[in-house]
Symmetry: C2
Subunit: 664 residues, 2 copies
């Protein structure tokens, strides 16, 4: 699903230039690189680490603090039995093919996708249409044979496009059929790979010195939250609904990790489990606050029809029209939308895609992914699923722990109904080994049946019941063994297993997509000859807020550098000093690449009158004022209270160093 | 090393009561408890999670921000080769014994410690001395045989005490000898366990679908920092010294995890790697700022003499007297001291213990642990080691990556020396397979040897050199193959491998020890009959800062609750509302157990005049004022700008609810 990638300013996005810049500035780097690296493992350098911390901090405020969620921190190591019960041991797998010639291991869905996309591209070339360059350099390199310009039948083109639109909907067998049907071959060898087999994605280990307790690294943080449900409900003083949340690493042994942060084997997740009463339509009391928010939706019907056309719709309408299953799910979709907006994601590159039936876990009631458009296509960054009561139910069943809510009813419920009362002491001796079966058959009778059976007892002193597998199939029970009477039953409490709405965030994917969204290139605007990358992070998200540059190594500047650094540190604003010998312009350029939104210059005028200049990364405009005025301006920009245009309107512009900036 | 544990107020600390309280308030809880739990794995509930986040936040400000350290975030999954090179595959092990009768697996040093301590206790009983109760309930339970009151020889007592003082200094063989010498038996079976064998503590897994890349879960975050050294030096624009830092989980497959958070298998670490030039005595430019700080030190000589007497000494004196190896190490010991003080640790329960020679890694120059006194004895919470150039050197050697600093010299260094110049073209054909060996032997000659060899060349036209394993052991080289001349060599750069000072923090151990240090019991002070626990966390560290309690469920109070919550949230102060039907006193009591330092009560007077009361957790005193005054007071208390006594002096005291509080 490669698409035309563009920068924040609409320029074509050159992935290789961006990657080189991110490596140069140490946003992230392949882990263990001096040992040759390990696919799918990345380390975050200082700017990436800080960017990640800022995104997590905003996430925590936006979700956890805003809604008093219960944050918990659970272990990654998880014993076998837990993940067996949750279904991960049996089902958490991807489909994997092997090339019989060179032993290449391929992820089946990606393989089908790649080959069909390549054929469609070849078709376009043959038709003389404009073909987009492949943006992912790793992918380009991997595909060893060049796309061949072969024209396809119009019908075939349509078929391929339909397959691609619902690629996530196929199981292993179906992928195997596609491989055969379209005779798909590994470009590296020209050979058709073996039929797909399931490969479990969990990393396995063993716990304890005797190595007999099998365990896994968790593939998600969710299970740790479910297992603590009863304790959390207690902690929340039995109040429903409530949500727990966890921020922590999870692990998936990906078959073929992609280059970069988009498919890695170790990653940071932030997950919410919102527990809600399944009765009453899963309403949310804050839904009215969000219902006017317009989302971009790609529903399952559109995808199954082989299309990818999105609809714009308010979340209020989407829930009313049953496009989105319920209010609570809709509430979280809107909150996710607001979060992405807050951290600076380009909202024209966001869509919410609904899972198709086969794609969704069998227990899920509905599921939507927030997808962000990048140079590698639409990337799932947030999942938001209604997991129903599945997880709590299976763990409760397995362990016997009561993972339920007991709600005291304001008005007791009174039921008038036919009740069966069995005299167990007599029942056993009478029916021997069939006792339990007959008992169960009696208990399973409907109200209508019971009314009739009660009449039989009164009339005949016994009842006749069909019980498959016992004697002739019909059993007689006399009235000294059973009573069936019309009685009142009063219930003071209601017991239920909550349903779970789960918004689940892949922080690394969001972080990388955000970088692409805020990236642009100054050269093409200024007409300069050298590409000069800029990352226009909002100040709240930017790894470092302020760059402090003394004009030169002159010792007179040092006291000002120290004083300003200390003042900024005291109000909790991260700043870095660059007193290297590079020109002011070069130093600012370096920090444009780091996404530092503000820059302070200390020059000879500073020494005379204690004024300093403040530079805006995006416009490169500067203002000049005394130290405290500038620091106050920085604080208002960093907290989001003001924008640059407000500051530029209030403080005198400074033109002096512009010369330096433009000639760099 | 069980000692008398006391609360913050000097009361005897009852470990079982504290544990029950921490579980009740969900600070932490055994992971997977509904599945029977897994030893050494714990989940943090909301207060524990928040406490941990606050400790980490203070750590980050105290260390990373204060000194512009480069924070990075590296992967837990680590390939075999990296940990083979670092020495962990071969040496990261504990000594393990097996009981041949019941198969119990015992950690050898703990086993020796436990049995000897039990014998010493039996001796005290036999002598009629007062014996401390065992504080660790898990330990009590595990030790199945009761301590027998058997009097020991005075010499034996001294011997046992000396062994215990240096228990960390024994290797496996020595522990085995102790077991035999003192005939130590597993109390559970009365049988002597098998000789200790090494058990590697790393969790193993395999990476990738073909399962052929062996890997481990990292046992420390340090290696990820070392591997990125060259990139970090670049990022720091080649400036030395600098430090990297990482906060993340590490894993150790402990042989016998202890109850609670003190010895767990998955834990959060915060580690600093400070890279310093090994020349010039490892000075630190900020050492003068800390040199007057007095630390409590237990040096290695004292321990080897079988004693545990501590010395109080300023870090300035300790470095001057060579008790602590160098300024940089000393600087960090003082900074660790300040950090522990800042988070509320009882400084009378802190000591810095120096590692003994055998205890320290062979490459380490010096190592000190900050130990905190708890009901389980002195617990290592922070390690601070001078790892010398070991790690960078072994990784550089293995990979060929230049993990070095190249420093441009202000004045070039001029060497006048005998230099060997070999004519390699002729050398090979002449010596054939021995060429490399002879070459190496020539290169390895000393200045004195070269002077003599040069004379031989001039005098005889050839030189004679001993080269073991080549021909007769003596080789002749003629002057057309080699020149040896006295020449000038000029060096403009100096290349060196930095040394590493590593402060390494176990966050979970610090968190638990801190809880014990701030815990006390109100009942014994008030004379009440029920134990009422209080956790006197400093406000900066407390999980929640403010409790908001409406007097009753009366609807008039709700708008005030909402408004105050919102105002506090806006200034980033975490608050929780308790509008349950419990009495005000009960609700405050609950929050004393959670360590919430401040409480706001909304009562009928609030509805009339908008004033609210503010309660201090530690004194239970209250003041009353209008909303904004109280919120300003809260802010100054939470940031540490004011203490309660300042607020109590400024605002009118309120006595009203004290009745309620005292009768609860």
């Amino acid at each position: 699903m490669t698409t035309t990638a563009t920068t924040l300013k609409g320029q074509p996005l050159d992935r290789q230039t961006l990657d080189a810049m991110l490596r140069r500035r140490l946003f992230f780097t392949p882990a263990f690189e001096i040992y040759g690296g390990v696919a799918g493992l990345f380390d975050y350098g200082p700017p990436g680490c800080s960017l990640q911390a800022n995104i997590v901090d905003i996430w925590r405020k936006h979700f956890i603090l805003e809604e008093d969620m219960l944050e918990i921190d659970t272990t990654v190591l998880t014993p076998h039995e837990v993940l067996k019960t949750s279904g991960h041991v049996d089902k958490f797998a991807d489909w994997m093919c092997k090339d019989p010639k060179n032993g290449d291991i391929l992820r089946a869905d990606h393989f089908v996708e790649d080959v069909l996309e390549s054929r469609l591209k070849g078709d376009k070339e043959a038709r003389g249409e404009k073909v987009e360059e492949e943006d992912d350099p790793k992918k380009k390199k991997k595909r060893k044979t060049k796309t061949e310009a072969v024209k396809l039948d119009d019908n075939v083109v349509r078929e391929y496009e339909e397959v691609l639109a619902k690629i996530d909907n196929y199981n292993g067998e179906e992928l195997g059929e596609l491989i055969k049907k379209y005779d798909l071959k590994n470009p590296a060898t020209g050979v058709q790979p073996s039929p797909p087999v399931a490969f479990n994605l969990m990393f396995q280990t063993s716990i304890g010195p005797s190595s007999n307790l099998a365990g896994y690294l968790r593939p998600e943080t969710a299970q740790g939250q479910f297992l603590n449900f009863a304790k959390l409900l207690d902690f929340n003083m039995q109040q429903m609904p409530f949500a727990s949340a966890s921020i922590g690493r999870s692990y998936r042994n990906e078959i073929s990790p992609r280059a970069g942060l988009l498919r890695v084997r170790e990653f940071l997740m932030a997950e919410i489990e919102h527990f809600v009463d399944p009765e009453g339509g899963k309403k949310h009391h804050r839904f009215p606050e969000v219902e006017a928010i317009e989302l971009t939706l790609l529903d399952r019907h559109t995808q199954l029809a082989g299309k990818t056309d999105v609809k714009k719709m308010t979340i209020g309408d989407a829930v009313r029209n049953k496009v989105v299953d319920n209010e609570t799910l809709g509430y979280f979709l809107a909150r996710i939308h607001l979060f992405l907006q807050k951290i600076g994601v380009d909202m024209s590159k966001v869509r919410f895609r609904q899972h198709m039936e086969n794609e969704m876990a069998h227990y899920a009631a509905d599921c939507w992914d927030a997808e962000l458009l990048t140079s590698s296509g639409w990337i799932e960054c947030v999942g938001c699923a209604d997991r129903s009561a599945y997880d709590l139910s299976v763990h409760a069943k397995k362990t016997g722990a009561p993972l339920v809510v007991r709600e005291r009813l304001d008005e007791p419920l009174v039921f008038e109904e036919w009740q069966v009362e069995i005299d167990k002491k007599k029942f056993g001796p009478q029916f021997k080994k069939d006792g339990k079966t007959v008992e169960a058959a009696l208990e399973a009778t409907t109200q209508e049946q019971r009314e009739k059976l009660a009449k039989q007892l009164t009339d005949n002193g016994e009842l006749e019941l069909e019980v498959a597998g016992v004697g002739s199939g019909t059993v007689k029970v006399s009235k000294d063994l059973v009573k069936i009477e019309f009685r009142k039953r009063i219930e003071n409490t209601r017991e239920y297993t909550p349903n779970v709405i789960e918004p689940s965030f892949g922080i690394g994917r969001i972080l990388y997509s955000l970088i692409e969204h805020v990236y642009w290139n100054r050269a093409t605007e200024d007409g300069g000859d050298e590409a000069r990358g800029v990352l226009s992070f909002p100040p709240t998200v930017a790894p470092t807020k302020v760059l402090i540059v003394p004009l030169s190594a002159n010792k007179q500047f040092q006291p000002f550098v120290n004083k300003i650094s200390q003042k900024l540190r005291k109000i909790g604003i991260s700043a870095r000093v660059d007193s290297s010998s590079a020109t002011i312009g070069k130093r600012y350029s370096r920090n444009d690449e780091l996404g530092t939104p503000l820059g302070i210059t200390i020059d000879f005028q500073t020494v005379q009158d204690s004024t300093i200049t403040l530079r805006d990364r995006d416009s490169t405009k500067q203002v000049r004022a005394d130290e405290d005025t500038i620091i106050a301006a920085i604080q208002s920009l960093v907290t989001g209270a003001k924008e640059w245009k407000d500051v530029a309107a209030e403080l005198p512009a400074f033109e002096g160093q512009e010369v330096d900036v433009t000639v760099r």
